[in-house]
Every structure is written in structure tokens, then in C-alpha cells.
Amino acid sequence: MRRAGRASLAGVAIAFALVSVSVRAQGPVDAAIAAFRDDVHVAAGLACTTCHSSKPPAGRGGTSSSTAGGAEAYSAPPRTAIAPLCATCHSDATYMRRFDPQVRVDQFLQYQASTHGKRMAAGETRVATCTDCHQAHGVKRVNDARSPVAPLNVTRTCGRCHGDPARMTMFGREATAPADWSASVHAAALLKRGDTSAPTCAACHGSHGATPPGVASVANVCAQCHLREAELFRASPKKDIFDAIGQAECLACHGNHHIESPTDDWVSVTEGMVCAQCHDDSSDSGKTIREVRLELDRLSTALSDADALLTRAERAGMPVDEGRLMLRDAREHQVQSRALVHAFALAPFSTTAAEGLASARGAHEAAEAAMRELQTRRRGLAAATFLILAFLAALGLKIRRLPPPGA
């Protein structure tokens, strides 16, 4: 029944639905029918009766809005039955590969392992199931920008529940995560710059298998993009210490949702700064922290000095391309030095910071050379002007001394 004759039923059912619309006032059923026209399942030849049985489901009243013949048949399945219903097709590899040979068929398996899935299976219907995120009618592909699970829309979709304090309190949870994330650098990258590689809820928590990542595993997620920092961290003494005290690698310093752009002044043992959470001034580590911070500050100052002088030279009309190239190189070294902070040792960091400092000083030198060239030009002008003025003086005298006209 599922497969055989579905195509012909599709035509009949849709025609019936369309006719029904015209003889009835708009209701939730009509809205569903209207939305379904845009659904990706329609293209696959599916119809209303695929998911909605033709008999009224046992024990549950329908949501029909009229007494006309077919309306009661299209009642919503019970919430606990939705995921298994979708899985009848979406977990069937043989069936699904007709539509997309590469498609995954483990969504239901993942869902069952997720926090949402486990609670739903235990009868808690207030957690998410397939239709909450993908919609019931009008389902679109993930890469369709209108889909609620398209990268730009994911946080809004998760936030409908996880940002709602009333709902979250029912589960003894905070509702701050979506708002925190929206204030993070990742949100800015995604929503303001359109960088779809930036992580949303699903990137770290999973989509179908959504579960808060364990302490040990969250860093693996960060490491997908921030590989350099992760490798450095794992090679550093901190890894064993953090494992021993059960501390999540990246989170201790960078947070999980509200991840801001780190600044150089995090590296400090002053009260309130990031390193001061564990370190203080008295130990060797405190000395290293101060040394690292000193070099970071020195590099940052050298960069801004060079930039300022280059800009001054540019404003005065001097070309400073080579200086700008060196400054760009210095900035790249600054980025690398900041990454090397995650080695938590002086050695590789100092070398890179020193190289960056050398480039920044080179840029400054180039700017100074430009300013000196400017002075040379002005001196050249002074010499030329002197010659011209002397000539003009002599010429003026000559003109004065000319015999009066008419003589």
C-alpha cells in the first residue's frame, strides 16, 4: 500500500484536497495542505495519506474543522509516533537511495541516542521530534535557505525551546545558551559575514543526536577548525593536568556559548584575568605568563607604532607599499604568536613573536625612510626655490634697469 499505487493516489488525494479547500473555510488542515505544496516530499511523489492514515487513529480525537467526509482522516499522529513514522522511510537505505544515492539513513538511530530521543521514548512529549525542527508540512532540504535547519536558521529553531525560560525551567535547565551564542564571534561570523563554516548549535551538539558534548569530547569539535591551537594544547603540560581534574580543554578559558574574541590582556595573573583563575604570581608559571604577556604587548605596540607612522607617511603623499607588506607579515606573525600561546611555554612562542617584532620594526623603518625621503624632497625644493628666487631677484633688477620705453 505504501509504495504501490502511491503515485495515482497522490493525484486523487491532492485533487480532493484542492476541491475541499474551495468548499470550506480556511482552517489548520487547509494551512497544512497549502504548506505541503512546497514540500520536498511532493517531488518524491508522496501524498497526505502517506503519513496520515485513512482511519481515525485510535484513542485520539482528530483536529478536523468540519464534518465533511475526509477531514477527520487527516489528524495528526501522536508525538511519540512521529519519529518512528518518519523513520519508516528515512531509515530504509534501499528506499532512500532512489532519491539520493549518498543520503544518510542513520538519523533515527542518532535520535534514539540523543537526549530528545531518550526522553520522547520515555513518554516525555515536550521535547523535540522530527517535525519540530523540520516542520510537518512544507519540509525543505537543509541547504534550502528557507529551511528552519539551514545553517543561518539553526539557532533560531533550537532557540524556540532552548531560549524559552518557561519551557526550560520545566526541565531544570537554563535558557541562556542561544542568547549567549548570539553574542559570540561565531554568531558574528555566520550572521554578519555570512561565513557558513562558523559553528551553530548543531556543529557542537549534533543535530539528530543532539546531546550536550561531554567534557572530554567538546575539544574535538573545536579542533576541527582550531586545529593548530588544539595540537599545541595537547602537546603541552596542560593536557594531562586538565584530564586529571576533569576540566574541558577549551572551555576553561574560552567558554562554550558566549565565545568572545580573546585579547592579549587575558594573559595575566592579575585578579579577574583568565590565567588568574588558576595561576598566581608566585610560581614559575606566573613568571612565564608575565613574560608571554610582555612579548605580546611589545609586538602589539610595535605594530600600532608602525601602522601609525606608515599612515602618516601615506597622508604626506609618500608611497609605502613595502612597509605595508612588512606590516602584513608582522600581523601574520602576531596571529601565529597568539596561537602559540596555547603551547603554554616560552620556547616556540618567543621565536615567532621575535620574528613578528622584527617585521614590525622593518615596517617602521620603511615608514621612517619614507619620512626621510619626504625631508629630502623638501630640501631639494628649498634649493630649487632658492635658485629660482635668486634668478627672479636678478631678473627683477634687470627689468628695472631696462631703458625707459619710448627712449
Binding site: G317, D321, A384, T385, I388, L392, L395, G396, K398, I399
Partner: protein, 360 residues
């Protein structure tokens, strides 16, 4: 030795005839004769433009891919390239200023009167050519400001009825400002306009040589009773040395301007970027843009911009035929002076408004 050389030349070229003619040439000297120097100044600055322009031509590349980089090359890598480029840019501004000073001084001194009508007409055309030189040259560095200024400037041509779009396509080499526009305006700037200008300058100088310098009517009247009102000074050496003095002083000013206020490179033109804030044409076009900004959208049902463009066209046409319509009576000349004062004031006020509006 030099006597032999001179007689060798004498046999072949009419040198002594020319020198004799110049030796006998005289120039009136009176209260207002200082204004005579502006014509020569404009010519001198044109010579500077030809010289510095030729030097720039040795390194400049007129294509969208290379123009900006070639100018960058000139000002960074070529010895004194910065000087040649900045002198070319400043001399352009000074030449336009000098040309306008020359125009208005000739107007107020009524030197357009018979028999000098053709001198005036060629002069007006030369002024328009100077403005065209400025407009075509402005795009050549191919930076942000010049690209968008050219786009806005050529847009104005579209308001002309019937042939407007055709004019725009002719100027731009297409529908929009592109590399084709650059090549086309370059061709105008270095070949077509200089050819026409040289011919007209030759004619203009020939006519001046033919008719000599005009003495203003008020001086002529005064000379009837006071013989000291106007004297004659020899062209060679008195006038020439004074000319040389003015030209050398202008050279010093150009060098100083080039050193203390060098032209900037800007950022390379990006046709797909949004127009940067504060796009303006060069200062000598500012008054037209400010006028177009203040004109009401419609006047008696006709497009305001269109009317303003027509008015400016009528103004230019009126200037061209001035010697033929101005009456040579005292009242006629007073009218010309008032029209001149009104135009000058209008252009100055509009320019000042534009500059004030643009200042952040």
C-alpha cells in the same frame, strides 16, 4: 664662428625677419595692463602640461588592468616620478584658473570688440577644450574617486533630450564606465584634444599678432586728455622679461605645491563597489554640480535638471557669440560687465557652497 653659423641659418630661415618684427612690436602699458599676462601664463602652463604629460606617457599604461599600477610605479619607482605627476596635476588646476582669469579679464576690459571677435571665439573654444582636458585626464589614474566622478559626470549628458544617451555612449565607449572609457578618454586626452588645441592656439596667437593688444575703452577715453594714461613698451625685451618673471614665479609655485601637496594615489577603481561618500568632480566643475543639486525637480512641468543643462548650454552659446551681440555703446558695455559680474558671482557662490557642503 657664431657669425658664420648665423649667416648660414639666415640664408635658409627667415630668422632676422621674425626677430625684426618682434623688435618693433610694442605692447600698451596702462593701469590694467597687468591682466595681459594671463594669456601668456595660460600658454606657459599648457606647455608645462605637454612636457610633463609627454614624460608621463613614457611610463603610463592606459588599460583598466594596468593604469593604477603604472601610476603607482611612476610615483614610487621612477626617479622624480612623484614630481612629474604632481606638477602635471597641479598645473592642470592652475591652467584652468588662469584660463578663467584670462576670460574674465578680457571680458571686463572689452577686448572682444571689433576687430578681435575671432580671437574671442577661438578663446572660448580653447577654454572648453581646457575643461575637456581636465575631465578626460581625471579618469586616467583609474582610482575610486576618478572612476565615480567620471560616471556621475557622464550621467549629466543623459539629460540632453534625444541625443543624450548617444552622447553618453560616445563618451563612455559603452553603456557604463569601463576599461573602454579609459582607453577612449586617454585617446582624447593625449591625441585628439592636443591636436585641436594646438591648431586653435596657433590661430589665436596669429590673430593676437595681427591685431596687437587691445586697450580698454575707458583708457582710450582717458588717453584723449591725458597722454600718460597709456604708454607703449617694447615687446622685446621689456614685456618678454616680465612674462619670464611671471612664468618663473609660477614654476616655483608649482614645485612647492607638488612637494607639499602631492597628488594621492587613492584606491584602485572597483566598478562593482558602492560609490564612496563625498564623490565630487574637480573644483572647476563643482559649480555645475551644485547648481544641479539646487534646481527643483520640475519647473512648469519640465524636468529641472534638463532645464539647468539647457541653461548652461545657452550660457556657453551666449559666451561664444558675445562679440556679435554686444553693442559697442557705453550702455551695451555696462550690460556686458553686469552679465560678467553676475556669472562670476554665481559660479563662485556655487563653488563655495559645494566646498562647504562637502567639508565633514
Amino acid at each position: 664662428m657664431s657669425a658664420r653659423f648665423r649667416s648660414w641659418l639666415e640664408e635658409r630661415l627667415p630668422l632676422s625677419d621674425m626677430v625684426d618684427a618682434l623688435r618693433h612690436k610694442t605692447v600698451p602699458h596702462h593701469r590694467y595692463s597687468i591682466w595681459y599676462y594671463f594669456g601668456g601664463m595660460t600658454l606657459f602652463l599648457f606647455g608645462i602640461q605637454v612636457g610633463s604629460g609627454a614624460l608621463l606617457l613614457l611610463y603610463y599604461r592606459p588599460s583598466a588592468a594596468e593604469a593604477y599600477e603604472s601610476v603607482q610605479f611612476i610615483v614610487t619607482r621612477v626617479p622624480f616620478g612623484w614630481l612629474v605627476r604632481s606638477i602635471h596635476a597641479w598645473s592642470a588646476n592652475l591652467m584652468v584658473a588662469s584660463a578663467f582669469a584670462h576670460l574674465f579679464s578680457v571680458l571686463f576690459l572689452h577686448a572682444y570688440r571689433r576687430p578681435r571677435e575671432l580671437t574671442w571665439v577661438t578663446g572660448i573654444i580653447l577654454l572648453l577644450l581646457t575643461l575637456a582636458f581636465g575631465f578626460t585626464g581625471y579618469l586616467l589614474p583609474w582610482n575610486d574617486v576618478s572612476f565615480f566622478a567620471t560616471r556621475v559626470g557622464t550621467d549629466i549628458a543623459a539629460t540632453v533630450p534625444v541625443i543624450g544617451r548617444g552622447i553618453v555612449r560616445f563618451l563612455r565607449g559603452g553603456n557604463d564606465v569601463s576599461g573602454a572609457t579609459l582607453t577612449r578618454l586617454f585617446g582624447f586626452h593625449v591625441a585628439i584634444l592636443p591636436a585641436i588645441a594646438t591648431a586653435l592656439i596657433g590661430l589665436h596667437l596669429l590673430l593676437i599678432q595681427r591685431h596687437g593688444m587691445s586697450v580698454p575703452p575707458s583708457i582710450e577715453r582717458r588717453a584723449a586728455t591725458d597722454p600718460d594714461a597709456v604708454r607703449s613698451i617694447p615687446f622685446l625685451p621689456h614685456f618678454v622679461l616680465r612674462d619670464l618673471f611671471a612664468w618663473t614665479a609660477a614654476l616655483a609655485m608649482l614645485a612647492a605645491l607638488a612637494t607639499f601637496y602631492p597628488s594621492e594615489l587613492g584606491t584602485k577603481a572597483d566598478p562593482f563597489a558602492a560609490a564612496p561618500a563625498g564623490i565630487r568632480p574637480e573644483w572647476y566643475f563643482l559649480w555645475t554640480f551644485e547648481t544641479l543639486k539646487h534646481v527643483p525637480p520640475t519647473l512648469a512641468g519640465i524636468n529641472g535638471e534638463f532645464l539647468a543643462v539647457i541653461a548652461m548650454g545657452v550660457g556657453a552659446g551666449g559666451a561664444l557669440v558675445l562679440p556679435f551681440v554686444a553693442r559697442s555703446t557705453h550702455r551695451g558695455r555696462r550690460l556686458v560687465v553686469w552679465v560678467g559680474v553676475a556669472s562670476l558671482t554665481f559660479m563662485s557662490v556655487m563653488t563655495a557652497l559645494a566646498l562647504a557642503g562637502a567639508a565633514p
